[in-house]
Symmetry: C2
Subunit: 200 residues, 2 copies
Amino acid sequence: MRRILTISRQFGSRGRTIGAMVAKELGIPLYDREIIRRTSETSGLEEEFVEERSEQGYGWFERIISSREMSFGSKSPEEYIWEKQCKVIIDLAKKGSCVFVGRCADWVLRGKEDILDAFIYAPIEYRAKTASELYDVGDLSEERVLKMVKEKDKRRAAYYKFFTDREFGDLKNYDVCLNSGVLGIENCAQVLIDLYKNKK
Amino acid sequence: MRRILTISRQFGSRGRTIGAMVAKELGIPLYDREIIRRTSETSGLEEEFVEERSEQGYGWFERIISSREMSFGSKSPEEYIWEKQCKVIIDLAKKGSCVFVGRCADWVLRGKEDILDAFIYAPIEYRAKTASELYDVGDLSEERVLKMVKEKDKRRAAYYKFFTDREFGDLKNYDVCLNSGVLGIENCAQVLIDLYKNKK
């Protein structure tokens, strides 16, 4: 059986960690940074550039709505990278069961495969704490980290909306939504493992 | 250990059935219509009247924003019933572990108890099908049933918003949200049973 799990997640909700736990337990690959690596390969663009112009990067939104400083045919770099990234995701999905974290894989693969779409979220205070622990935030104050998380939320939502015309975190896009800040990451991983195995 | 599970649900998502399955498996009481019965008792109002003036009823919203045809002190019947209903829920929660279905119990008990807040939702086509099967819709066309479900959604959301100042179905109000139309009610019940048992 080929089954795909997509995990969309709020910044700092530990969705990536949960995805890794699920993939390990199920013995199937996890695709996250791999998508960037392959998009870089197929587009001929540097990994750093691909990352900067996607979901994670600052500034993509400002650039995409401003005049185009570069173009790939009639496309902006962001659109060009988006198309390459979609192709990478579709090709990886064809190879067999796997877990995708982020990159709008839920939308890219909609209606295409036997899919379980999950969304991981958490209270903003939990996510700010995670961000402080997992990323280098230097000596930023708590208040500044909270602001950074809110900024990330806005950018991720805008990226998702721009390319998919859906609302990020609207539960109708997902089969299961889990509050990792309340449930804990072990419980979230276990629920996804069970649903992956048992969903008809 | 006393733990409360609240299940909020979209009309036709089978949240009530899922709640009954969970309560049975856990061996704890399910409160649903019981809340209406007790609210009727403590308010001295007929059960039919209590139901009509709450979440399930048609017309409560029109009445509450129109001139008050009755009053209980300075309150409209809806506000009077709401206060009695909150008290019933709080008192039932004090008695021990249980499952609440609907009645804004998630909001009424917020921060008060060891609580797991769940939301059950499903695609509207699934919910229209459920409505046709579970309720007497006479010979209504499919289109009319869909319209009825949308109407129910609007009223439930307005009721929730009016009394709690929250958005119905906004995932940040819940710990776990499950799409019963995709996952099936057995999987939804199992996830809630496991989380109820394992949540720290």
